[in-house]
Amino acid sequence: MKKKYWLLLSTVFAIMLVLAACTEKETGSEKPTDKEPEKTEEGAKDEGGTTAEQPTLASEVTNEGDALAGGTLKYALVTSSPFKGVFNWELYQDKYDSEIMKFTTNVLFDTGEDFLVTDKGIAKLDVDVDNNKATVTIQHDVKWSDGTPLTADDLIYPYEIIGHPDYTGIRYDDDFQNIVGVVEYNAGKADTISGIKKIDDKSIEITFKKVSPAIYSIGDGLWGYAAPKHQLKDIPVADLITSDAVRKSPVTLGAFKFDKLVDGESVQFVANEHHWRGKPKLDKVVVQVVPPASIGEGLRTGQYDMASSYPTNQYDGVKDLTNLTVLARPELAYSYVGFKLGKYDTNQKINITDEKAKMNDVKLREAIAYAMDIEQVTEKFYQGLRSRATGLIPPVFASFYDSTLEGYNYDPEKAKAILDEAGYKDVDGDGIREDKEGKKFSINLASMEGSDTDEAIIEYYRQNWKEVGLDVQLSTGRLIEFQSFYEKVEMDDKEIDMFMAAWGTGTNPSPAGLYGKGATFNFSRFVTDELTALLNDIDSKEAMDPAYRGKAFRAWEDYMFAQATTVPMYFRLEIIPVNKRVKHLNIDWMNETKWHEVELVAENPVK
């Protein structure tokens, strides 16, 4: 019997020892000799369990050393499920497919400040605002990866794919139908799209129903990619998505071309010698799907040179590693708290604000916003990788972002005062405020299930609200899984008074699709004539002038702030760890290093 106990205990100890050994190794690597004293201090503080200061992460890194001739870059695509493998810009829906395609990109236009089209790319865009026309001209002698020259036909073909009656993707949308003749083509009434004309081998002209500032963000129906017509033309559109030309061996314009593929797991690219900007310096790029759980370890052990994006809740795992540099850039997104103020009328297809809605009290909403200690959350839970959002335009959009906005900074006293003033008073003395009539008052919050961190954050906010006397309960009693969350929010579920969500803005920050009168995504269901006017102004022809547009954005943001129907919570940072053998890399949106320029300084990733 005694032996048995001993064995059991020794097993347990063995497990602990193994783990302890691993931990020890890690702490060892935390304190390398050549580290600057400042950083060690940070490490020391860390053991206490807190990180006080925000990380100031660069977006650019340069490492010493002579570049290798060639070499293979190991790129980790961080996702928990296999990629789908639709390598075609017109057809793909999964964002990881587009992550892979950036090595082979068929993109026509370069973008600069505010993600507006520049003249530096393959093609040049000329807009004739008065006649609602745009001309796209190929500027260089560009060849596809199989050596065939790029022609105007390759620029037209994407429109013919998307507009085709057999097309089942998501891009045949309202925007796309802004092109003259697309609807007829889609209905099978026309053989070609009447609004698209081939001028010569190098340029095409597109006629739109209307033109807005969005066209410079490649919106309004303009398509930013070329499609290899010579490869795709013989494949019926209905069969494209399963064809080898899309799944296995697409012909491309980018720095690299597809070489080998393990479905859903990894792709090997080789240099595209026909690349129009010049032959890439690397020989190969291997993209491998890596689950978020193992990416930290993969980078630490030098299995990968860089990661597509690193999970923020594991920042601890890489921030002190010496073999890599953690780069960061803002995400094109913001998180927010929204309040349900009405319903979407599916017949009229408009949002209708309900005057009597429970949350239709601007004071209440303001108080909720002021009671949230967002700074603490960004600092402790997100370790500075998110920051309190002050408006609804992320700072990336330099011309539109207004740094003078303050947003709702944490001020519980102010929140209490506002609530007192609005008539929400604690009548029965239980520390929870009652509503204006003195009845029990509790607010239902819906939030999405994510990491364990998310759960703790929501709890923290609930504590915040409780401190000012507001009882906030979770709808359904727990965080809601992604699919159910959006279904409930979209259906204006009665159990939801407010919700926490996030929007990616894309490269065109126009808020019309998210706050407009007819927008289904206007989940707050808040509409006023004033708001409609402000939104229209942002996308008006006058707003073609960025300065005017910037003012229009500011006016809209001020209005949203005053109404407090959507409370911005965070702007996010995307972190990309890069191994020290990568000679130079800049991930800044405006000056991103092009893939053909990337070089390595060592045969293998630094461990």
Binding site: K4, L7, S81, K84, T168, D173, S266, A293, E297, G298
Partner: protein
């Protein structure tokens, strides 16, 4: 017996039919649909509605079911909305990986469990036996995925003995010896981890069988005829005890397929179990229903297989 086998197979048809109805209705009840995941300001909600209508999501459920089941009966399980591929082709691809893992694990389980079970039974009540029994108890008691996580961490991340994601290295050419070796190499860690925890049942069964057999008359007779104990073990006890183990094969394999959900989640091994979890999260109805049907079918097949093997190895057991 063939009659019974055919009858059993025929009974599967209504069973699978009811299962299909059940899972179809359940899957449709799940909140959200494959297109909910496409929400971004850049996608047009009207287009998504159009796609929903095209996909038939607004038809009455029995119309949807009828369309689905009539196609499924002809082997067409529809289109996966998230993968944009025929369901059969995705599952076929993933099934291959899961089956490879399952086969390897089963072989390993038997390779570990049979010797241990025999030794424990033969040297009953010795230190060796007690150690084996303790191992089998602990492997039963330990929360499996914790051990999997520790294994991945220690052998995958820290010691780096095994790869931790994917099924094969992309740079290798299919068909070469290295390619297959690399595939096998990717199987090793999940396979071994499963096998270490999956032996409890067989070890304990074999052990009690052998302990029981030692007191059986036929063994005593053999001993009294002067046959050495070693021969008695190899000729009589071992063979008689092993046959029922062979019959467990069907159940072991189906059990493993169930366990694939855990294994594949932890080891990021893109097989059917992982596909199931992913499809649940993305509400890929067609894949969910087809996978559940497949697992149900395999479970039925497994139990039939076990019964057949059992009736072959042990004439006393008849199946009907």
């Amino acid at each position: 017996m063939w009659k019974t086998v055919i009858r059993r197979i025929l009974i599967m048809i209504p069973q699978l039919f009811i299962l299909s109805l059940l899972i179809f209705i359940l899957a449709k009840q799940m909140p959200g649909d494959p297109f909910t995941g496409l929400i971004t300001p850049e996608t047009d909600p009207n287009r998504i509605e159009e796609l929903r209508i095209k996909a038939g999501f607004y038809d009455p459920w029995y119309v949807q079911y009828y369309n689905w089941i009539t196609n499924a009966a002809q082997g067409d399980f529809g289109q996966s909305y998230t993968h944009e591929k025929p369901v059969a082709s995705i599952i076929g691809d993933r099934a291959e990986k899961t089956f490879a893992l399952a086969l390897f694990s089963v072989i390993l389980v038997y390779l570990i469990a049979i010797p241990l079970g025999v030794i424990a039974g033969r040297y009953h009540d010795t230190f060796v036996d007690k150690t084996i029994v303790l191992y089998s108890f602990i492997s039963f008691a330990i929360p499996a995925f914790v051990l999997y996580l520790i294994f991945v961490f220690v052998f995958g991340y820290r010691l780096m003995w095994f790869p931790t994601s994917g099924t094969v290295d992309v740079s290798l050419d299919p068909g070469t010896w290295e390619y297959y070796w690399n595939k096998f190499y990717h199987l090793l860690l999940p396979g071994i981890s499963y096998a270490i925890l999956g032996t409890t049942g067989i070890i304990q069964y074999l052990r009690t069988e052998i302990i029981d057999a030692k007191t059986m008359d036929y063994v005593k007779t053999a001993r009294s005829k002067g046959i050495p104990m070693k021969k008695v073990y190899s000729r009589h006890i071992f063979r008689n005890s092993l046959l029922p183990i062979a019959a467990f094969l069907g159940f072991t394999i189906t059990g493993l397929l169930g366990g694939s959900i855990f294994i594949e989640s932890v080891f990021a091994y893109p097989g059917m179990g992982k596909l199931f979890i992913d499809s649940i999260l993305s509400r890929d109805y067609s894949v969910i229903t087809a996978l559940v049907m497949l697992y149900g079918f395999l479970a039925l097949l497994g139990s039939l297989l076990s019964d057949i093997i059992l009736s072959i190895v042990d004439p006393r057991i008849r199946i009907d």
